[in-house]
């Protein structure tokens, strides 16, 4: 019981620390405003691109909804993946505190999970504001009373686990480098291309489409659109039922977590052997 309380305290402290570091101790409102500007602009770039090609033809809102919902929920990956994986390198290089966290009684996984969850608040705010603004200004077919919230929450929870798992493993891999500046964003942008966030993965060449279909993010995106848009959703997997897509999300998430754990453990052992956890780096 005492151990559980200690872990909970560690988790709370990690979440708070993650929030403060990611916001750089600015005022929360300012941070949220800045955080929302990027996804809103990204969504409107896609909207203009779509309008330039397709004009305002009938049925265009369905594709706009496809684009906007993808960008809105992408914030979770952007903040969760890039934020957490960069955070590990920052904790070591800039703040020089990774070794203290590593040797503290809090489980390292618990600390990293809390550090990653801290990004969630800005991602939630960003996704909500973007969806509201886009639904009103573009007339997207999103009816808040008809959204399948349970499925949306389950899918998002699974995806979040996968994202944090991937970020932990990727972050530990980054510790192998002396200077890993920008690699978090790089990893997130690779995921962006193969996640079906802004275009159906069928557009990708064969090998990339196959890799994309092994990622839980694709099935998460599909479920987001189905739960938010119902029958208006443009489907990447039209022959699959919601249950089939959810099953694939569960399987790929479990596989991702197992793989992430193996990579994390390997990178952890290597980092200990080579003294990388308290190495002077970057800054």
């Amino acid at each position: 019981m005492i151990a559980a309380i200690a872990q909970w305290r560690g988790f709370k402290a990690a979440t708070w620390l993650g929030w403060e570091i990611s916001s750089n101790w600015t005022r929360p409102l300012m941070f949220v405003i800045y955080s929302v500007l990027r996804p809103i602009s990204a969504a409107f770039i896609l909207v203009v691109m779509y309008r330039v090609i397709s004009g305002r033809a009938a049925g265009s809102t369905a594709y706009l909804a496809f684009l906007v919902s993808g960008v809105a929920f992408w914030s979770f990956v952007q903040y969760g993946f890039a934020g957490l994986s960069n955070g590990m390198a920052e904790d070591r290089g800039e703040y020089r505190m990774l070794k203290y966290v590593y040797t503290s009684p809090v489980d390292f996984y618990v600390y990293l999970f809390g550090r990653g969850l801290a990004q969630l608040a800005s991602a939630v705010a960003s996704a909500l504001i973007l969806l509201v603004v886009a639904t009103i200004t573009l007339g997207l077919p999103i009816d808040p009373l008809r959204v399948n919230y349970p499925l949306l929450l389950v899918a998002s929870f699974l995806a979040l686990l996968a994202v944090i798992g991937m970020a932990m493993a990727y972050g530990f891999l980054q510790l192998q480098a002396v200077d890993a500046h920008g690699y978090g964003e790089l990893g997130a942008s690779v995921l962006y291309v193969i996640s079906g966030a802004i275009f159906p993965i069928g557009v990708l060449p064969g090998i990339l489409a196959t890799i994309a279909s092994l990622s839980p993010l694709v099935y998460w995106m599909e479920l987001i659109r189905r739960t938010l848009l119902g029958s208006h959703a443009i489907r990447m997997f039209p022959t699959m039922s919601d249950a089939d897509v959810l099953l694939r999300l569960v399987v790929t998430t479990v596989a991702t977590l197992i793989l992430a754990h193996l990579v994390f453990s390997w990178a952890d052992r290597r980092a200990r052997r080579r003294g990388l956890i308290d190495m002077e780096s970057n800054w």
């Binding site: 916001s23 750089n24 101790w25 600015t26 300012m30 941070f31 800045y34 955080s35 500007l37 990027r38 996804p39 602009s41 990204a42 409107f44 770039i45 896609l46 203009v48 691109m49 779509y50 309008r51 330039v52 090609i53 397709s54 684009l67 480098a177 200077d179 890993a180 500046h181 920008g182 690699y183 964003e185 790089l186 942008s189 690779v190 962006y192 291309v193 802004i198 275009f199 159906p200 557009v203 990708l204």
Partner: protein
Amino acid sequence: MSHPSPLRIFLKTIVARAYPRFVGSYRNRTWIVTETLLPLIGTIAMIYVYRALHAPARYLGFVVLGGVLLAFWQNVIWAMATQFFWDRGQGNLELFAMAPTSLAAILLGMALGGAYLSLTRAVTVLIVVSVLFGVGYTAAGILPALGVFVLTICALYCLGMLLASLFLFYHREAWHLADAMQEPIYFLSGFYFPIRSLGAFVGGVGSLIPLTLGLDAIRQLILPGTPQFIPLAWEILAVIGQIVLYAVLSQVSLRYLERRARQDARLILRST
């Protein structure tokens, strides 16, 4: 003992500040990878968006040229505008302020080195994406487009010098402000679509950023069929005007803000 002339010090400062960026453009492999791949992957993502929409081939060219200039914009934001902010955090700014040279020379050196560094990344993006996706350009327009490109980059780095002094007045928000100057600027400058699509008002506001008119002019020259925002000659004149305007404003702003920063003790403020 003879002292070097102020002009010599000014020029030597430019070379000295540009030097680490010339060397850094190939020495730090990590930065080579990120600075090349980030705009490259972003460009490829947008190309697939157009492919999914079955857009005509020239739209892929719009994206490629946007991706090329994106490398410069990222450099201006992260290595010009915010540079004094980072320097202040690392304790270099106070050394710059005490050195027998001017901050303007340091900024010019940063601009020169940064433009070279970005050029190496931008050329990679241009070649890789054009070859991968078979994007073609009008040969006759390439030389004039290169001329417009040089003017645009000059105007852009003058804007960067202006932003550098403004960022001195930001504390902990500086990082977020720089972050917020990415996608919103890609949108306002029409990085991935013809600027005309934004209409006269939004396009006009976006034209305050030199990239907007420069990019539109380059597209008009090498991608036939580009919807014209304003006539090409006006765009070129406007970019030349921006070079003068931003160069003057940056010097005025730098002197004013340097004085204010000294008064308010912001030159030595740590906020990173």
